[in-house]
């Protein structure tokens, strides 16, 4: 049996999206061209823009298509250190506030901007991954140009109260950005209700194609392109449009709008069964993330005395795809920065596994996983030093 429980990493194309994209393969015109080929491409790009805008309650001219969620996040952050008078605060409001649990594309861009003279402050999170609102109040001031807080965390699924945060941010005169890559398509997202100035979406997290994302920029918000030199996207993102990708993203948004409302309850049930099953069949585990304010599809579990990459690869041998916060699997040497920020001990961060389900996930798959997982954990623990006399963990037990 093949089980794909890694939807937070990426999702398979929705069959309807695939169908539309295949049908559109012949479309090659440049949307900037005035002839029939160009007009065909233009019509489809604008149709997709309307669908994406509808999905998040925006106006069409507030949507900029970009190459990825990472590009959208880079674009927004970079607006705030540019010294050009065209760009948002110039150097007058050069402080950026973000959180310790953002995606690396926000954290690394922030670090880079700090080297260029920006002040960057990082909000702490509690043990469930919720940001500290009191700390935010303390940080907000005249110097703050931008606050960037992700709506749903990719690793633990914890949701932030973006609406409340945005109100606080606007009161101090700063702009608000949310990286909603993991939230859009899983929970209702309405940019007017949230009140945000910038919002990031990625197509491949909502059953659309890779290599395309969208940035919402609220009407009237100062803006400067990250990629310059073309009039595409009304001068806001140069480069000939990824027409096929954009078309796919539009269809993906349309399908999410139809399917999402009835999905959450079903996913929540799967998650409950999965969590309960793990809790009942495996000792010494810890559930990471918020018990209620979290994505219905995401369950993050730490297994004591077991390293995550070993679990991931043994599950892979059984046809099950998951991901881990262990250092070893990431290519870096540190375990998950998100789990460490929530106060999870490094050993438990190394032993964390993220199960992220999606629109096709079934109870049958959850049951298969629950059959396969306990013997794997047992097997790894049997060869682990963590449970022997003299093992550091054993000593503390």
């Amino acid at each position: 049996m093949k089980v794909y429980f890694d939807h937070n990493a990426t999702t398979p194309l929705h069959p309807e999206v695939k169908k539309e994209m295949i049908a559109a393969m012949e479309m090659f015109g440049n949307p900037s061209s005035m002839h029939a080929y160009g007009r065909e491409a233009r019509a489809n790009v604008e149709d997709a823009r309307r669908k994406v805008a509808d999905f998040i309650g925006a106006q069409e001219n507030e949507i900029i298509f970009v190459g990825s969620g990472s590009e959208a996040n880079n674009t927004v952050l970079s607006l705030f250190v540019c010294s050009s008078s065209q760009c948002i605060p110039g150097t007058r409001r050069s402080t950026i506030i973000t959180t310790k649990i953002e995606h690396p594309c926000v954290l690394e861009t922030s670090e880079c901007l700090a080297h260029q003279g920006a002040r960057v402050k990082y909000l702490n999170v509690d043990r469930y991954g919720k940001i500290d609102l009191d700390q935010l109040v303390g940080m907000l001031g005249d110097d703050v140009g931008l606050v960037s807080v992700m709506m749903a965390n990719n690793e633990i699924g914890t949701l932030q109260d973006i609406e409340a945060i945005t109100r606080m941010v606007h009161e101090c005169g700063a702009f608000m950005h949310t990286d909603a890559v993991q939230a859009v398509g899983k929970v209702p997202v309405d940019v007017r209700k949230l009140g945000v100035d910038f919002l990031t979406i990625s197509a491949h997290k909502i059953y659309g194609p890779k290599g395309v994302g969208a940035l919402f920029v609220k009407h009237g918000t100062p803006y400067c392109p990250l990629i310059r030199g073309g009039h595409q996207e009304r001068g806001r993102r140069a480069g000939t449009e990824n027409t096929l990708g954009i078309l796919g993203m539009g269809k993906a948004a349309e399908m999410r709008m139809i399917e999402m409302p009835e999905e959450e309850e079903r996913l929540l049930l799967l998650k409950r069964v999965l969590q309960k099953g793990i809790e009942e069949s495996i000792d010494d585990i810890a559930i990471n993330g918020h018990p209620t304010d979290a994505l219905a599809s995401t369950l993050n579990v730490s297994f004591t005395g077991v390293e995550g990459e070993a679990i991931l690869l043994y599950l892979d041998l059984e046809g099950i795809a998951v991901s881990t916060g262990s250092a070893c699997a990431s290519g870096s040497l540190d375990p998950s920065h998100v789990l460490l920020a929530t106060g999870v001990d490094a050993e438990l961060a190394h032993g964390s596994i993220r199960f992220s389900m999606g629109r096709e996930s079934s109870m049958q798959e959850v049951e298969y996983l629950l059959n396969v997982l306990p013997p794997i954990i047992q097997r790894i623990r049997n060869m682990s030093t963590a449970y022997i006399k003299g093992g550091l963990h054993a000593a503390s037990r």
Binding site: E307, S384, A386, G391, L392
Partner: protein, 203 residues
Amino acid sequence: MLQAGEWAYSETLKEHFMNPKNILQGENTDDFDGVGMEGNLQCGDQMMVVIKVDKEKETITDCQWKTYGCASAIASTSVLSEMVKGRTLDDAFHISPKEVALELGGLPDHKIHCSVLGDKALRAAINNYYTRNGQEDKVKQEQAKVICQCMNITDHDIEDAVLEGARTYFELQEHTKCGTVCGQCKDETEVLLEKYKHIHFGA
């Protein structure tokens, strides 16, 4: 279109991960003549190696282990336990991480540090055997002292890095990658950094 590629690991490594050899069953190490343990759980790797020794010939007759770690850590301890059987203590003492990696059919660069603990745990087990058998004179200290357990960086490496131009902790990390995992060695490393700067450059 290509199908799913192979793992980042060699076939030999995969085989040792899927079917690890010589895992120590249970906790009891009483039947063994030497026990060694290295690494820590915070770092993400910990290995224990236990050996049985033919006292006449001073050869290793059995080697078992436990490992907390990733696939390459598990496989490297497994392959090491096969490599040492029949070897003399002296011979086994000098097995290097390179030999272990070679036996595994190579390791990805960022996984080298996962395999360096097995041979260290083995040396600890051999020294433990000598100590238990009243042969303290044979106990061989590691000539260099490991400062950063995670990346296996010794005081010699730190000295070399200083000689090559590292003057700050950050530059030292760029040179050696020391302290880039759990960071527990930072204080000790900084003391050594100042020491070598003083010795070599009078700083």
